[in-house]
Amino acid sequence: MSTTTLSVPRRLGRAKGGEDSPKAMAFMAALWFCLFVAVLFLVVLIAVTVIEGLPRWDGALLGNYPGPDPLEAGARPAILGSMWVIATTATMAIPLGVAAAIHLEEFADPTNRFNRFVELNVQNLAAVPAIVYGLLTLSAVALLGLTNKNMVIVGAMSLALLILPVIIISTREALRAVPIEIRHGSLALGASPLQTVIRQTLPAAVPGIATGSILALSRALGEAAPLLLLGGLVFLRFDPNGLLSGYTTLPIQIFNWSSRPQAGFHTLAAAASMVLLALLMAMNSLAIYIRNRFQQRW
């Protein structure tokens, strides 16, 4: 036993550098200020959009085709185009991303150099600017010799490439959150590693995978850059009706309208932005709902 005695103060007082010291208060104030600025920008942005777009927030916006008259024009093909492109993107990116994540997380040897190289690159790819994926898809299309780039499947391909790393990363995190004991329990009953993944690990990770995938898709929904590069900026007077169909999407339509000189089109662009915001909020709410409702607490 040590014989050192600690000098114990009689009364509990203020500790130096405690919660209400000037330094701590200044730090708290700085944190609150940062938060305030961030939220302020968001609120102002949404408010300005809503105020500007409200006059054209009507049925014609959703039901009409674009046209020369800003009071009559609508975003119907763009809304349908966005849905087509996002659905196709999801169909391509989610199975591929989930499969890649399962391989990396459950089967690949983490000490293998090649696997570590792949992992590092997945992390890096998640930070690559969207336009680069557009360029990549563009060159792929050129190699295939396609002259018409404005097809749903081509746009979806670039967006699928864009969100693939995000889906891989979030799926891996969801798989990692499943306790190792569940895998061991399954294996100890004589299940094969593949059965363990399909019947235990993957189902337990589905809420996390769904949340991550929806958030990735909502990023793709708001993306314009790669699609602009792939000829998405077109004037359409028909509904997209297949994978090879021509299309435009909401962000591109907004870009198009806001670059027109007439003020009426700016109002239209703001109204279309409201539609895009509403779609994004719906998707993000769904992601939050899934997370809260189904996530397993171990």
Partner: protein, 275 residues
């Protein structure tokens, strides 16, 4: 010193009729030798306890018996672990087959995030067992694990709603459902309260009629209460490398180990002088 041992249905014979025999088993994690030269036989329809201080390799030995050690990168077993005349580490032997015959219950109850019914039915389903009536098999497994009466009205509910002790008995029921011959238990009661522990110990006595049970425990009283035979392990510093390697010190009937151990280290450990 008087100790009461559990009343045994059978008189123990001197040498068990072995279900698993280890001969010169060395277990390595990479270059590190975790366990050296273990030779012992686990009796059929007996409870064998593996005891010893932390780091003595008893869990490592247990996990090598159904090849759960395979899951740890770099783990390697040398020597022979014989099960019905076959070395379970032979090239032609599939770890999955081994684990279907030699089941395992873990330290922390680990029910699957599924219903109670599906927890039990999982093993038979994945192993492709021919089951005529799954309801019957589930009921029998739960009865054998002394859990049926507590859960018969909520088979469709999540297993996570059960108490820790019930969850552990569910894990035992789940193991029984695939009809193994041997059940390995890795400190099955260390996460449970005394009453739940007692229930598991009673259950082990019943299961002993049909299965060989091998249990790792930190609790010496538990070993004394439940085990027919006890193996005492300890960690010894190797002369060559200085690494601490687990060794089997003494293996005998529980009565001998606790009443008149042959080795001084066993004596010291069971009387609480170290460990």
């Amino acid at each position: 010193m008087t100790r009461t041992y559990t009343s045994r249905a059978r008189e123990l014979v001197d040498t068990p009729s072995p279900v698993i025999s280890c001969t010169d088993v060395n277990i390595y994690y990479g270059k590190f030798r975790a366990v050296s030269d273990v030779t012992l036989e686990f009796g059929d329809r007996e409870i064998t306890a593996l005891i010893g201080p932390s780091g003595c390799g008893k869990s490592t030995v247990l996990r090598s018996l159904n090849r759960m050690n395979d899951l740890i990168p770099g783990a390697r077993v040398e020597g022979v672990i014989d099960y019905h005349g076959q070395n379970i580490y032979d090239r032609g032997v599939d770890a999955i087959e081994v684990r279907r015959r030699i089941g395992m219950v873990f330290q922390k109850p680990n029910p699957f995030p599924k219903s109670i019914f599906d927890n039990i039915a999982y093993g038979p389903r994945v192993s492709g067992m021919q089951v005529d009536n799954m309801e019957e098999l589930v009921e029998k497994s739960l009865r054998d694990a002394a859990l049926w009466d507590e859960v018969k009205d909520k088979l469709k509910q999540s297993a996570f709603g059960l108490s820790g002790g019930q969850q552990q008995r569910l894990c035992i029921a789940r193991t029984i459902a695939v009809q193994p011959e041997v059940i390995l238990m890795d400190e099955p009661c260390s996460a449970l309260d005394p009453i739940a522990t007692m229930k598991i110990e009673d259950l082990m006595q019943q299961l002993r009629e049909q299965y060989a049970i091998i249990i790792v425990t930190h609790n010496m009283q538990q070993a004394a209460r439940v085990a027919d035979r006890t193996a005492f392990f300890t960690a010894m510093a190797s002369e060559e490398t200085g690494d601490r390697t687990g060794q089997l010190v003494e293996y005998d009937t529980t009565e001998v180990i606790f009443e008149r151990p042959a080795d001084q280290r066993t004596e010291d450990y069971i009387s609480g002088r170290f460990g």
